[in-house]
């Protein structure tokens, strides 16, 4: 693979949905733990999940903020992914229609929930040993 020069910080996508105009205020309530979550988050402009239980809601289809999905199902967190620049990303799966979505973690997400999610594949007792035996 070609080694590229590391290009600074990746810019965030432009978000043209204003929550104030739709009358929802500047907070949302988590469907998993009923926590009132402010939309302003450190480190991200696209907060879509609860910082306590990491649960999200299926509102957007392709572009964050388009509100084009009419599913409105609960999206529970499925796994943890890492971008090429080392930023963590949550993979959510909708519990009612099964679609997947990715979102960057925010600065105030629960570190214990994030670590438990990232450690979930490694708690399997058999598979890391099988990987070592293939060396």
């Amino acid at each position: 693979m070609a080694r590229r020069k590391p290009a600074g910080r990746r810019p965030q996508r432009y978000k043209d949905v204003t929550h104030r105009r739709t009358g929802r205020g500047d907070a949302f309530r988590c469907v998993g733990c009923r926590l009132d979550v402010p939309l302003l988050a450190p480190g991200t402009a696209h907060r879509n999940h609860c910082p306590h239980c990491l649960t999200s809601l299926h509102l957007d289809r392709r572009v964050p903020g388009d509100r084009a999905a009419d599913c409105r199902g609960r999206m529970s967190v499925l796994s943890m992914s890492v971008r090429a620049d080392g930023e963590w990303q949550l993979i959510h799966q909708c519990q009612s229609c099964g679609v997947l979505g990715a979102n960057r973690i925010a600065g105030d997400d629960n570190p214990l929930a994030l670590i438990r999610l990232a450690m979930r594949p490694l708690t399997d007792p058999t598979r890391p040993i099988r990987a070592l035996l293939t060396l």
């Binding site: 499925l78 796994s79 992914s81 930023e87 963590w88 679609v99 214990l112 670590i115 594949p121 890391p128």
Partner: protein
């Protein structure tokens, strides 16, 4: 007459076990049936896949680009899934792993978050 009997006995209600596809990344020729009997959709050597099904709209996709593995998901049953992401249209899919998938790439994806922690991990040693 013997030819007709021969043909009628070879009706494929299930796809034949000798179907193959070529990996779009490494070029490996792979059988579509894995050793456990399930159908596979990613290369067992490099775990890359191809975007042929559209999950959001439904039906076949006209994207046909390469899908790279980005994450490992563990189901409640303990089975592992590979989450793929299309490099062209950024769609996500998840697929079950096959028994002969490359274990080193699987483990490398599993430990990748811990290699780039966004916060110091030392505080968790005291809990």
């Amino acid at each position: 007459m013997s030819t007709a009997n021969h043909n009628s006995g070879r009706q494929h209600t299930v796809p034949p076990r000798t179907d193959t596809f070529d990996c779009v990344r490494c070029g490996l020729t792979v059988t579509t049936v894995d050793p456990a009997g399930g159908r596979r959709n990613h290369c067992p050597s490099c775990l890359h896949s191809r975007h042929v099904l559209d999950r959001v709209e439904g039906g076949p996709s006209e994207c046909l680009a390469r899908m790279s593995p980005i994450s490992i998901a563990v189901l409640r049953s303990g089975d592992w899934m590979v989450v793929h992401r299309c490099i062209l249209c950024d769609e996500l899919t998840s697929n079950a792993i096959a028994p002969d998938d490359n274990q080193l790439i699987l483990i490398r994806m599993a430990v990748r978050p811990l290699a780039h922690p966004p916060f110091p991990l030392e505080v968790f040693g005291e809990w």
